[in-house]
Symmetry: C2
Subunit: 194 residues, 2 copies
């Protein structure tokens, strides 16, 4: 079980995700993680002060993978409206795949997200920060009405919640959802234009 490799935080996090996937959030123990790594559980506690800290780090890693996949769109040199639409489409698609491809793991992360509101807040700050970048661009170029980018980014993020908040994941496979997504994005974009 790779006992020769150095025990890094990343290896522990990967093992923890695997244990969470196998056992679910209720039954995944630090002892399980240690066993998966071939070390004693005391060793895991050398890298993460508590089980809660370990779960928090796994949650952060999971959310950051989504943020990073979107970051590229912010700096592209294109119409802000189109970029905003693409950004939300990418976010919706990414979340929908996370939910649909491995429902087991997604349910697990929903529990972790409920436990780690501080991490979620940071994630939302990340995402609205990216949005503010696009909105600011649009305002500067005159595509969008002159608004405060940060406050407007938050409003736009809130308005699209049904298509990225995991609370609504169970609706993401319903038939009309694409159209409803489009309707909200259209409405929001009309509201932004100069």
């Amino acid at each position: 079980m790779a006992t020769t490799e150095t025990l890094t935080a990343e290896r522990i996090l990967a093992a923890t995700e695997e244990v969470l996937r196998r056992h679910g959030p209720a039954k995944a123990t630090v002892v399980d993680v240690a066993r998966a790594l071939g070390v004693s559980h005391g060793t895991v506690y050398r890298h993460f002060r508590t089980k809660a800290a370990l779960r928090e780090a796994v949650t952060e890693r999971w959310l950051d993978r989504t943020s990073q996949s979107l970051a590229g769109l912010v700096t592209e040199d294109r119409d802000a409206g189109a970029r905003l639409r693409d950004w939300f489409t990418a976010l919706f698609t990414a979340k929908r795949h996370k939910a649909g491809d491995d429902p087991q793991l997604f349910a697990t992360y929903q529990v972790l997200i409920g436990e780690n509101s501080a991490v979620v807040e940071r994630h939302i700050a990340d995402l609205t920060g990216q949005l503010a970048g696009i909105v600011g661009d649009g305002v500067r170029r005159g595509t969008f009405a002159p608004v405060d980018p940060a406050a407007t980014a938050r409003a736009v993020f809130d308005a699209t919640g049904r298509f990225h908040d995991p609370h609504y994941a169970h609706e993401w496979e319903q038939p009309g959802i694409e159209g409803e997504f489009g309707a909200v994005v259209d409405l929001v974009l009309r509201g932004l234009r100069a």
Copy 2:
């Protein structure tokens, strides 16, 4: 305990709400409801086929109280934009009071809502129906862009979810929330205007 009065469905529902308030959703039993009414539990089953049906009816009653309090705004003869803003403000205020004034009971109803998705769907259909009325008026009078009232009502309802979906109730007492509500409503109204 009012053993003389006729046993109506409404009396059973009121007693059930009281039992739910006292004991919470997990411990409220049909036997408790019967005891509160001074009848045997078999008698309760004469009016409601199952415990689930009883809880569903209580949930529907609770949601309908909100719908009815808003219905008046739909038929008023005023600017559609102003009515739409007032309607959402009234909805947000009503829900915020339900959540803030009796958190115990509100938490109980959140559980009931989770159990009764069909009732919730009907409630949402009620509310978006009211919205479609206002949107349709705005379109007819040329205040709003020419859109499909039903689809747009749904988009507008989705876009404001953070301020009426009970899932977000814990955020409704936070400091900046009024401003965030206003920002989303402003954005949506700008998106609707002709």
